[in-house]
């Protein structure tokens, strides 16, 4: 991993609750290549969103990062003071979210918001920043950008708001874009447009993407590599082609088998039995063992490590010990 842009090691985030601390992110390691696209996939409660917030120092109390390093081309983000982290977030590592309406300021014009990163982090004048913002809004395909710049977020559709978010996030050609479920709230035909736009612009700017999603189709269509999370832990890490050709962890296999696909009509689905465990009552050993069709003797006693497999893959499963 000599050319990794982002190296996350041992990242652990806990939430202090009335019943004691709960571990939402449990010793996560991952790396994103320069200009690459890494997808972090998992179901609700697996810790994928807390992970992405933790990486940029955005976890708010009662959550706190208790261990780990997040190194962005030589800079350990979590070791920086808040002012330093803010500078990183404005310029080198930006973020977009599922619901752009909550990330946009409802009382500022769109033009001012898109121009802001340039003024705050690149020292541009108001005029320069607004001109650049207009050019960027045109580039992200916002119709009539000059007129829209004077408008407010509520006047835009969901897809248009996400275009504005992408414009803001990529305005300064960051090294890394963290996109947390960026198309989950959008219709399927708009989803394709937004993903394509995000990938095209990131490629032009040399920006790497860490894409957080629950949608395996989106992973297959966009990512170079995939990290699967379950109950706070990474359970599999693989190049995307190898993953879809045959996932190594029983949980990943279960996810793919339970997914209805367009075209195979009426095939009986194979669900994963049971439900995702609560973080405050996690099973011992491998967190997945009570739902795993292939669980055997060591699974309930001992947490498996991430075993290295051929082809640059890893899986946290005792089936791969030996």
């Amino acid at each position: 991993m000599g050319h990794a842009l982002l190296e996350v090691t041992g990242l652990t985030t806990v939430f202090d609750g009335p019943g004691g601390p709960v571990t939402a992110v449990d010793g996560v390691n991952l790396s994103v290549d320069r200009g690459g696209v890494l997808a972090v996939v998992g179901e609700s409660g697996c810790g994928k969103t807390v992970l992405s917030l933790s990486m940029l120092g955005l976890v708010a109390p009662p959550g706190r990062v208790t261990a780990g390093r997040v190194v962005l081309s030589g800079t350990d983000i979590l070791a920086l003071p808040e002012s330093g982290r803010r500078a990183i977030r404005g310029r080198r590592a930006t973020m977009i979210f599922q619901e752009p309406m909550t990330a946009l300021n409802p009382v500022l014009t769109i033009g001012e918001q898109v121009a802001e990163p340039l003024r705050v982090h690149a020292g541009a004048s108001r005029r320069e920043a607004l001109d650049a913002a207009e050019a960027m809004l045109a580039r992200v395909g916002l119709p009539e950008p000059r007129r829209r710049m004077l408008g407010y977020p509520h006047e835009l559709s969901g897809g248009q708001r996400q275009r504005v978010m992408i414009a803001m996030a990529l305005m300064l050609s960051p090294e890394l874009l963290i996109a947390d479920e960026p198309t989950t709230a959008l219709d399927v035909t708009v989803q394709g447009q937004i993903l394509e736009l995000m990938l095209d612009l990131a490629r032009e700017a040399g920006t790497a993407i860490l894409l957080v999603t629950h949608n395996l189709g989106v992973v297959a269509q966009t990512a170079d590599a995939v990290v699967v999370m379950y109950s706070g832990r990474v359970v599999e890490n693989a190049p995307v082609a190898a993953f879809f050709a045959g996932p190594a962890h029983p949980y990943s296999q279960g996810l793919l088998a339970s997914l209805p696909q367009v075209g195979d009509l009426g095939r009986r689905l194979t669900p994963i039995p049971g439900t995702v465990p609560s973080l405050s009552a996690l099973p011992t050993g491998c967190h997945f063992h009570p739902r795993c069709p292939r669980a055997f003797e060591p699974c309930s006693r001992q947490t498996p490590p991430l075993f290295d497999l051929p082809g640059g893959r890893q899986a946290r499963c005792w089936l791969h010990a030996s």
């Binding site: 609700s44 219709d187 399927v188 394709g192 993903l195 082609a241 997914l259 209805p260 009509l265």
Partner: protein, 325 residues
Amino acid sequence: MHPDAPAATLLELSGVARHYTTKEGFFARRERVVRAVAGVDLTVAPGETLGLVGESGCGKSTLARMAVGLEPPSQGTVRLDGLDPWAGSPAGRRRLPRLVQMIFQDPYASLNPRLPIGWTVAEGLRAMGEGSARERRARVAELLEQVGLLPEHAKRFPHQFSGGQRQRVAIARALALSPALLVCDEPVSALDVSVQAQVINLLADLKARHGLAYLFISHDLAVVGHLSDRVAVMYLGRVMELAPARALYAGPLHPYTRALLAAVPGLDPGARRRAALPGETPDPAAAPSGCVFHPRCDRAIPACAEAVPLLAEVAPGHFARCGRL
């Protein structure tokens, strides 16, 4: 509307439209008419599953509410086993709960958080005066088992269940009066993938066991294809295509259906696709002239902006609303 419609029709929507008037502008002096549903003809036969797909704003949820008699159509008629919920006697309307029930996307919002779920499941039975308290308890136990829960769960409250289990509770409640038709509005959209498959299988099992008919509404084409015998595709309040599921997925005819299918991200990283459709769905209050899809359609010709196409039978049982077919 259709006096000689076959008796085998359980749900019949004839020319159904639903308009909303909104006021806006200074002192709300400007009125706008939003045609959420703009003239839909659909039928569901006993034991049949009709899938209804479309993106947000296509009118599918409004159609669902009209199909269960929660909302009156502005035009056209809704008939459930021949009964028009908005005409005739209140006594006739009391037949409705035994004909049709509905389940929603968010079971948490449709279950009373302060009541044990057994009480909620028995609600319809009580309202219809069915059985003694003891008989109702036995029926609740039986219903909970049918949906994969345990009889002792009846005493628990909604917050003690996971999302998938809550949807099972909602299904149990809907089945209490043994309706012939279940209208499901995005029933698995809020569930995680691994749990979604459990609920889809449950719905398939219930259909096989009880001969239930479904009007199954979803934005997810894969889920709809899985459960449906026939599928209707809606766009801006209109049915654009209607066909047996196999025909629709194997040979979609309408350009919108084709674009929708092409937009579903597939699981093969070796076959990456470019976005299939430009633009976004227009505001239903300002629907385009002619064919409402023409501004986004890659096959549109000038005539498409003029003439309103009809839903025409292009192949046996396969209907499409496109002037170019």
